[in-house]
């Protein structure tokens, strides 16, 4: 299927994605606890400015302000019925900014997690999840998004439900999961597990990868895990700009533009083709990342020691890949039939 993102990927070795949405909106006056999606309707100029911040800093692609625009999350703000509308508005504003930029910019419709648990111990049924994602997806499509982009997912069940919803609205898509627990997702998925899951999907994404999580180093370790399994796939790296600190009443991420520039080139060397930031990544970081990607030559695939030496250490000794010792270590008694 031909689409704007695939076309752009054919002509370029790397694309610069955007940075943080929440961190930027806070700086524009969003209150903690309020849903950013309301601003698509109530403060459209601020959302345009959010998008322009990325575009002016050199991003080739940005995500819409629709991360929480699903019925499950909007229910908290008594706006469960606004999922389609808020999603559509976020994409329309994005389309406007992209089309006015004078270059080819991809508007990626952000689809965030429902926040509910699926699977054996969960409460959210597959059909309900698909329905929710489809509503958001349809809104983003109606608003003119080029591609849909599910992000910050922990559970394979939820990722699959989003993929199914995207097939239902017949849109190209990308997807990233968040590896924040000793190199795995909260639900225990390793980078290798994600590759197996994604490559078995009936509707293949344009690109897939990792976002958020712990620090930039951990994210690169995850990308190395992806590219070792599937070197030919278009891979996404969207890491946080360091770790959050609380200063003078605001959340501040400690990653400098220089660090994020190093991270961006290391991400490319590790096999990522769509490179951006997540929480804490501001236009100033994006500018430094763009410049580094443009001026520094592509290097050899880094090993973990090089990543650690250049941008800092990892949150855990291993990330669970290639590890066969995950079975419970206790001596097991014979199990009863249930």
């Amino acid at each position: 299927m031909s689409n704007a993102l695939s076309e752009l990927l054919e002509t370029r070795d790397w694309l610069l994605a955007d940075g943080a949405t929440g961190t930027n909106l806070f700086n524009m006056g969003l209150s903690s606890g309020d849903a950013p999606e309301f601003w698509n309707r109530d403060e459209p100029e601020k959302i345009r400015n959010l998008y322009r911040g990325s575009v002016d800093a050199g991003s080739d692609l940005f995500l819409t302000n629709s991360f929480g625009a699903n019925a499950s999350r909007l229910k908290l703000h008594d706006a469960a019925d606004q999922a389609f509308e808020f999603s559509k508005l976020s994409a329309e504003l994005g389309r406007e900014v992209a089309d006015a930029s004078g270059r080819k910019i991809i508007v990626a419709g952000s689809v965030g997690p429902t926040g509910e648990i699926m699977g054996a111990a969960g409460t959210l049924a597959h059909e309900t999840a698909v329905e929710m994602f489809e509503e958001t997806a349809a809104g983003l499509k109606a608003g003119g998004a080029d591609v849909l982009w599910v992000e910050t997912i922990s559970a394979p069940e939820e990722f699959k439900a989003a993929a199914e919803a995207f097939a239902n609205v017949d849109m190209p898509w990308c997807g990233t999961m968040s590896f924040d627990t000793a190199g795995r997702t909260m639900m225990g998925l390793t980078s290798t597990d994600m590759v197996s899951m994604v490559t078995a999907l009936p509707n293949q994404p344009v690109a897939f990868g990792a976002n958020c999580g712990v620090g930039a180093s951990d994210l690169l370790r995850t990308v190395l895990g992806f590219s070792a399994e599937t070197p030919s796939s278009a891979l996404i790296a969207k890491g946080n700009a360091g770790i959050p600190r609380y200063e003078h009443g605001h959340i501040h991420y400690d990653g400098t533009p220089e660090l994020m520039a190093d991270y961006a080139t290391l991400a490319r060397d590790s096999g990522a083709t769509i490179i951006g930031g997540c929480c804490g990544t501001m236009p100033v970081h994006l500018k430094a990342m763009r410049e580094a990607l443009e001026t520094r030559p592509k290097g050899a695939r880094p090993d973990l020691a090089e990543i650690e030496a250049r941008i800092g250490g990892f949150s855990s000794a291993t990330d669970g890949t290639g590890d066969t010792s995950q079975e419970p270590k206790r001596a097991r008694r014979s199990r009863r039939r249930s």
Partner: protein
């Protein structure tokens, strides 16, 4: 030995074997077997408190350690916690009847704007698994919700969780309000959530940041011990 054909009849095990088996069944998240085991021990004259502490809390401690060490992950722990809950449902009224010692009481909830309650649910379940009384306020709690519940329930601990950068600072709003109302020292305030860290917990004035549910349980036990020593 994983001979699936080899059925174990719980009632035929002696006490020590049964406790071991129940710990395994908790680990595997087998609710019906836990209920059965609890009932057998009650019939054998075990006190509800002894059943709570030995097979159940003992079993959940192993689950907690393996979760902390990255051997078990959220889906498995949720199943274990569900099995624990099934056992607790039988024991709870009996514990109250027999006046068993209280570990402490916690009100817990996700802060305003945050729907991500997986971590919070885990902490609630693991705290119950450790014998604490837990009042779960659910998601999206404003400051009044925490304060009213803590007062109403005569809680020892207030637990707050956030998973989004956009909602983390709200924890400070709650703590600041406690300070303003002169109630800060009435409660131990514990915070957690994926984007948080120790430094953040300190900066907003919490008593402790807990990296995961297992750490939350250990931290809560320590604070309760300190309180008892002071009393």
């Amino acid at each position: 030995m994983s001979d699936e054909e080899d059925d174990i009849i719980l009632s035929e095990l002696d006490d020590e074997e049964l406790v071991q088996q129940m710990m395994d069944d908790l680990y595997d998240g087998m609710s019906e077997e836990i209920e059965e085991g609890v009932n057998i021990l009650l019939e054998r004259g075990w006190t509800p408190y002894k059943i709570l502490t030995e097979p159940l809390v003992g079993g959940m401690t192993i689950v907690g350690h393996d979760f902390r060490d990255g051997i078990l992950f959220v889906p498995e722990v949720l199943l274990s916690a569900t099995a624990m809950k099934a056992g607790m449902a039988i024991l709870k009224p009996l514990l109250i009847e027999t006046g068993a010692p209280r570990m402490g009481k916690m009100v817990i909830g996700t802060v305003k704007g945050d729907i991500h309650d997986i971590g919070k649910n885990l902490v609630a379940m693991m705290m119950e698994g450790a014998g604490f009384e837990v009042v779960d306020l659910g998601i999206n709690n404003a400051v009044d919700s925490y304060l009213e519940a803590a007062a109403r329930e005569d809680a020892d601990i207030i637990g707050m969780s956030a998973l989004l950068t956009t909602t983390m600072p709200y924890m400070k709003v709650v703590i600041d309000t406690l300070v303003e109302q002169g109630k800060r020292d009435d409660y131990v305030v514990m915070v957690g959530g994926a984007p948080l860290n120790e430094e953040f917990g300190t900066a907003i004035g919490a008593d402790a940041y807990c990296r995961d549910a297992a750490v939350a349980v250990e931290t809560a036990k320590e604070f309760m011990q300190r309180r008892h020593n002071q009393a």
